[in-house]
């Protein structure tokens, strides 16, 4: 694709709504055309998804600072699992 794609095509590309071959064409143009790449970025797609992602990642970073809690919990869980399995037979035969 030597000429710049129309705005509607770029919109559909940004939304992931173009079939593979068309998307490839648009992308090969985007690699070499700064104007279109800037336009793509200015579309500001999926802003809300990005916000949620940043929130989820910072929440994970907070929890990550307390990996000790998670790993001791996992140790406890593994022990609980094997003590149950050790009793043999199907899971949690007796309560």
């Amino acid at each position: 694709m030597r000429r710049c794609p129309p705005a509607t095509l770029l919109d559909r590309y940004a939304a992931g709504a173009l079939p593979g071959p068309d998307a490839d064409l648009v992308e090969s143009h985007l690699v070499g055309c700064a104007a279109c790449a800037d336009r793509l970025e200015r579309l500001g797609m999926a802003q809300d998804l990005l916000e949620q992602l940043r929130d989820a990642e910072s929440a994970r970073a907070e929890l990550g600072s307390d990996l000790a809690a998670l790993s001791s919990l996992q140790q406890w869980f593994t022990t609980t699992l094997s003590s149950v399995a050790g009793r043999g037979g199907p899971w949690m035969e007796h309560e």
Binding site: Y13, A14, A15, G16, E27, L30, V31, G32, C33, A34, A37, D38, L40, E41, M45, A46, L49, L50, Q52, L53, R54, D55, A56, E57, A59, R60, L63, A69, L70, S72, L73, Q74, W76, F77, T78, T80, L81, S82, V84, A85, P90, W91, M92, E95
Partner: protein, 198 residues
């Protein structure tokens, strides 16, 4: 961590009795979320472990009694897990409160209705976060590592695009394209997980 079991089959496998690997997978997938919920509702750190452990034990027990698969079209697993964890959190909260009253000889009042609503909101938030993180992890495993790092630095951490481009010896265009591709993939993955999670 490599996910070997997809969500519906994991739940089915656990319902059928489950082996150690399936339960470990369940732990990987949900324990961090349970921990975040117990903290999010404001349990003290000494009570957080109790709440999470009691929840996990209840899940182990209750799965055995399920005689039907979760109805995915009606989000049954999510509602079920929410019921179990919020119930356990409330138990631990009440116990802690009783102990505190005894120790301090004072009456501490909580509004149970407001507490329940807050707990539901915490669950919802952490459930969404968990789904997004799992989607992001999945996409990270699927795409080229450099592309994913570019996305992390530029789109998630908000670093300057030209700096990121320099760092990876590529163009701004490539960074923009990487961001766009990964976001599309994420959207698809989130939608699929939503479908699967039941």
């Amino acid at each position: 961590m490599v996910t070997t079991v997809t969500s519906p089959s994991l739940l089915e496998e656990l319902r059928a009795g489950g082996n150690q690997e399936a339960w470990q997978e369940f732990f990987q997938r949900y324990a961090p979320m349970l921990l975040a919920i117990a903290r999010g509702v404001g349990l003290r750190s000494s009570d957080v472990d109790d709440a999470v452990q009691e929840t996990l034990v209840a899940v182990l027990r209750l799965f055995r009694r399920l005689d039907q698969p979760f109805d995915r079209t009606r989000r049954r697993f999510k509602a079920w897990l929410r019921g179990v964890v919020l119930h356990k959190v409330r138990d631990v909260q009440r116990r802690a409160l009783r102990a505190q009253r005894l120790a301090e000889g004072m009456a501490t009042c909580i509004d149970p209705h407001a507490e329940a609503e807050r707990a539901q909101a915490v669950f919802e938030l952490e459930w969404q976060r968990n789904r997004l993180q799992r989607a992001l992890d999945e996409v990270a495993r699927e795409v080229d590592p450099a592309t994913f790092q570019e996305f992390e630095l530029y789109a998630l951490q908000g670093q300057n695009v030209d700096n990121v481009a320099d760092l990876f010896e590529t163009s701004r265009n490539a960074i923009y394209i990487a961001k766009c591709r990964i976001l599309c993939r994420l959207k698809e993955t989130v939608a699929r997980l939503e479908q699967e999670e039941g």
